[in-house]
Symmetry: C2
Subunit: 137 residues, 2 copies
DNA sequence: GTGTTTGCAAAGTGTTTGCAATTTA
DNA sequence: TAAATTGCAAACACTTTGCAAACAC
């Protein structure tokens, strides 16, 4: 998503009306490199950028983008939801102390054969979270 | 933890006074096979078993047991904490629809070489969560 | 007795919801 | 103008906290 009008086209393609809020949030999220954000972080960032949007709309938008496949929720922390603009298959470092989420670069973590799910179930997705702590702590 | 007095000894060893509530909860948790419980589940189970204990104490106790190394928190779900009586190194299946946590049997999931953590950090632990959905859904 | 633990109720955090007002197409 | 979206405030689920009463040693 480069230009403004490309953003609009992408939102339409995803079945989402390109409202002022959605366009602005999409530009925050998808301009530049990949990001990991919590709702509160995105809210603060929007405010700082002069985007008028409510926290409820931030939550709505994050979930709509996730449903549309533009974002992926990263389940690193019980307590708070994080969203990743990198929707490719990959895993995460997480620093609980600071709430920092980082991608583990492709290939840096090999996941052998997957376990056989119990009867009646199939694997939906596999999430690996490598929890970090500050060295020498 | 088999007998009643063994439970008391184990709690003392962990630096925890063997109060009526702690002993009763320890027996619920550590008698029989390994368990995965949420605070609310343990609370209901305690009530059903005629153990008089408040929800606040359930939370306190779960965290004290975790700090003492008797339990391990399993970070499967943003929104709710689960605790595992199996403190050995292993991973989990999780069924979001039902909130069910299951151990992945040792060796069923091979985790190759771990990624190098960013400078200044070291790996604390690695959690793999295999999310399941009902077959044919 | 002294320090620890408990239970209650209140507060806290992150998230969702109901609905009237606004906006988009 | 009809349908979708927003924003507010209230509700929500889960968890933590403050403090007086109860308990363990």
């Amino acid at each position: 998503m480069g230009t403004f009008s490309e953003t609009i086209v992408d939102l339409k393609r995803a079945g989402l009306r390109p409202t002022r809020q959605r366009v602005a949030l999409a530009r925050l999220l998808f301009t530049g490199g990949h990001r990991h954000v919590s709702a509160e972080e995105l809210f603060q960032e929007a405010k700082a950028g002069g985007i008028q949007v409510s926290l409820a709309t931030i939550y709505n938008t994050l979930h709509q983008f996730t449903d549309a496949g533009l974002l992926r929720e990263v389940p690193v922390d019980s307590g708070q939801s994080y969203f990743d603009t990198n929707i490719s298959d990959h895993h995460h470092f997480f620093v609980p102390a600071t709430g920092t989420v980082m991608d583990i670069s492709d290939g840096a973590l090999e996941l052998g054969e997957l376990p056989t799910p119990p009867d009646g179930f199939e694997i939906d997705r596999v999430d690996v979270v490598v929890r970090l702590k500050v060295l020498n702590g």
